[in-house]
């Protein structure tokens, strides 16, 4: 480790440790304005365009008997529809919230995967803005679902004053429940996603940087270590792809279950 540190501090070509500044690349355009464009903006734009092109082309060509491409896309859409929306919300509500949950799942998945795509190397969800907007959208969805079903009073009563509880308990329960629907749910969604993606980027970057350093720049004695870090890089890449799917699934699943909780009758 001391060798690594020495060379990291030593010169330009040394060991580049991934750092927080990776998530705040320098601006390309409109620096300092609310419209600032930087490397992560480009990554998000590329992913957005790719996602939309794939899905719109598939939708345009959608036919009764699917080909290979359509089958793959339908597999993803059916996964969301059957495993998440219909499973959590039931068939009768599924059509209404299918659009929200599908959009959330597909965009979270696509932006997560960009962390493992060579050249992009950064998840679009690794910077807080996107997970935050997604979490706010989920919060708005479950508030809207609850208010539409029970009215504002009914929704708040259902959630803040659940029946079957002796009234003194409300002193503790009600603030917790209020915090839950206002802050804890969206915050946990947001932080879970962004923290996973940040950690994933740092792990991957560390493995890649280590491999680069050991194989290219360090002395001959260090080269076997490069093989180990290369293996770790491959493993971490696969692991990050798994995490990308997993986090997208968890995000969509929780969004669906929050909406389902809002729709529930008094319990």
């Amino acid at each position: 480790m001391s060798v690594v540190h020495a060379s990291a501090e030593g010169g330009e070509g040394g060991f580049h440790t991934p750092s927080i500044s990776d998530f705040f690349p320098s601006a390309i355009l409109f620096e300092g304005t609310p419209f600032q464009i930087d490397r992560i903006w480009i990554i998000r734009a590329v992913i957005t365009i790719a996602l939309l092109v794939v899905f719109v082309v598939a939708a345009r060509r959608a036919s009764l008997v699917p080909g290979r491409f359509q089958s793959a896309i339908e597999y993803v859409l059916d996964f969301v529809r059957v495993q998440i929306v219909e499973e959590i919300l039931g068939k009768e509500h599924s059509r209404k919230y299918l659009s929200i949950i599908t959009t959330i799942f597909c965009s979270v998945l696509a932006f997560n995967l960009s962390g493992s795509i060579p050249g992009l190397n950064m998840a679009g969800t690794a910077r807080i803005g996107l997970p935050l907007v997604l979490a706010l959208w989920v919060m708005w969805s479950y508030w809207a679902a609850g208010i539409r079903k029970h009215g504002l009073g009914g929704y708040l009563k259902n959630n803040l004053f659940p029946s079957g509880v002796p009234w003194p308990v409300y002193i503790i329960l009600t603030p917790i429940e209020l915090l839950q629907i206002l802050l804890i749910r969206p915050a946990s969604l947001m932080i879970r996603l962004v923290a996973n993606m940040i950690a994933g980027h740092i792990m991957l970057a560390l493995c890649f940087a280590g491999t680069q350093f050991f194989i290219v720049e360090a002395g001959a004695a260090m080269k076997p270590l490069g093989v180990a870090t290369l293996g770790a890089s491959i493993f971490m890449t696969l692991f990050e792809i798994l995490v990308a799917f997993l986090q997208a699934y968890i995000f969509a699943l929780l969004a669906a279950s929050y909406i389902s909780l809002s729709l529930e009758d008094e319990h």
């Binding site: 998000r44 719109v56 939708a59 959608a62 699917p66 339908e74 803005g129 996107l130 907007v133």
Partner: protein, 199 residues
Amino acid sequence: MIAASVTTVGAPALLAAASEPQGRDLFIPATYDLFWSAVVLVIIAVVFAKWVLPPFLAVLDERTAKIEGGLEKAAKAQAAADEAREQGEALLTEARHDAARVRDEARQDGKAIVAEHRVKAQTEAARIAEAAQRQIDAERQAAAISLRTEVGDLATELASKIVGEELADSAVSARVVDRFLDDLEAQQSAPVGSSGTVR
């Protein structure tokens, strides 16, 4: 870390963060980050809601309808086949019953016919036998009568020869001959028995 975040609270901290990002900046969204994230998500959501999901849902619904229609059709065909089979079986059973009934009837008719013929034949045989018996009786009687006349004449002749005198009174002689013959008959019929039916 805690000390750093405590000291960087406030406006100067934001400037410092711009130059050298801190750990907490990872969880504090910048305005431009939020803005572009919202833009990106709105675009994706609109495109998905308008151009991606409806075609897929339409295809899905159509496919479901086709499959359900196909299943329904298959069920109907199955039901029709079952019904046809049941009808066929019913017809077959009925035909079997009919055949058995016809066979029974034929058998009974045959029996009746045979019995009838047998009765007829028996009657006929009895009739023929009776007729024969009558003929025999008649012939026997005729024979007996002629025999009686001849025997009477012979006996009378014999007796007149023996006695030597002609019995002039034929009536008396006839009476004598008849009595004689009756006695003779009575003597004959007693041991034979069956000759009694001759008369």
